[in-house]
Symmetry: C3
């Protein structure tokens, strides 16, 4: 029987893979290209985190991530017409994935003895770096650098994790509150179009 | 005396470097930029593989890859006019490189005790990831995600390796059959314009 | 009290971060996006170097790099109007950073027992790879592959380091001469518009 966290992990991986596959398909990628972009979106953040932390890379321990991306590809191939109407469902799934990946990244870093500022960076990277690599591969400016609050939600969740830890709150409760913090920040940011300020840029020579 | 595999490795590295240098030159890169793009095309896939496998990075053990890329740059500088007519020769060289790099990647992963699904991913990465980084650096959508079967040839070779391994076929024969599988898949795909299906993409919001 | 090298390191990090933040702001990135691009410009080269060398990643040992990038972001937000007039100052700072990062990269590699050709690649990567990742993230062709001598200055500095080492010159003097070599090469290249030759590229099919 898979645990509750494993089910959430599968949902998050699936949602991230779907987002990569759909953006790739909008660029006329073939099935293989779409699969790669979906996979990278789902596992890219965790991979960079594990390389930086110097621990074995997560997706190389369990084929579930490759299988899950395959299921996502199949879903897009078979049901692409209907997926458009599931926009809000995917948004919820994506936000669940973001919350879970962040909490996993923060927790893993702390359990390895890293200080909190490293853990927050790692949590944010786990949640958001896959989407950055996805956008680089489809040759677009990374979405998360310009649109509604996305990666900042991971930072918020990381800071909440820290505060809970300092307040010696129970481990499971800490994870739940932190994950809820990421999820709600993201949902509210999109619902109320909350963006970070933009820099007044001047073109450089 | 270099071994047969070392000669194939040199040919593959040279062909990959030439492909990077020529695409960089089409974008008006200077000599240094072209050298870097050529080098990354040749060693990028193996570098990511070694980082993920947690072993010392291949090109840092032997200067041959840097030298080989230098020879490739010199060739393009001196003979760029004539290289155009060698299109088919380079295609054959590139396919040899793809086959060899795939077999090396699969073999290295297995010898380190990784399961076969990891080995196939690593073989594909060794063969194809360098070309993806090359296209990111020259700011193009990676070619292998949209054109004739390329990285899929690596997957085919990896699966053949697996079957041979399960059938307890001799190690050298396994490598030859697997490499031939990559090479022939690639050659036939280009000759008969075999492409993977493309996803019917709709632009997202 | 911070040492002289720490002060130079802070100046270099600050200058690299500013360059990332300003280019990001020209692309209308939000504050978070600009911070990430600034951070990656400052620490990207060193991060890749440390992963390749198989040692703990530098910026994860000390929060100064994250703080320094935060100060850089704040400076751009508050003083962006005035920064334009400081163009030459930033150019000097950036060249100091380039020189210091190169020397640190070469020195670290040698102290780990790597041969000199690896050390020169690592020094060049420490100095120049951050700028390449920056340009990939803002979806531009990397500047250093096409404009005045930049990464070549790191190679020059690395070779000088090597010659000093062979001549058994004192360690501190070696570092100073090598760093001065990078700095002067860069300054002179920009002052006299010294570029490397460009390849005569033909568009490929």
């Amino acid at each position: 029987m898979p645990t509750f966290v494993q089910i959430l992990d599968f949902i998050g991986t699936f949602a991230f893979a779907i987002s990569g596959i759909r953006l790739a398909s909008a660029k006329r990628f073939d099935w293989f290209g779409a699969y790669v972009v979906g996979l990278v979106t789902a596992i890219g953040g965790g991979t960079i985190r594990d390389l930086l932390l110097g621990v074995p890379v997560g997706w190389m321990q369990d084929p579930i991530y490759l299988i899950c991306t395959g299921v996502a590809l199949l879903s897009v191939i078979l049901f692409s017409k209907y997926l458009v109407h599931l926009h809000n469902t995917f948004f919820i799934f994506d936000s669940i994935g973001l919350a879970l990946f962040t909490v996993v990244g923060v927790g893993k870093s702390i359990s390895l003895g890293y200080p909190f500022w490293v853990a927050i960076v790692m949590g944010t990277m786990t949640g958001a770096a896959g989407g950055v690599i996805r956008d680089v591969l489809i040759n677009e400016i990374p979405l998360i650098f310009r649109k509604e609050i996305y990666a900042m939600a991971c930072v918020v969740g990381g800071v909440i994790y820290w505060i809970c830890y300092l307040a010696e709150i129970d481990f499971v409760v800490t994870q739940l509150i932190s994950g809820a913090g990421v999820f709600l920040t993201r949902i509210l940011a999109v619902k109320y179009h909350i963006c970070l300020p933009t820099l007044k840029g001047e073109a450089q020579d």
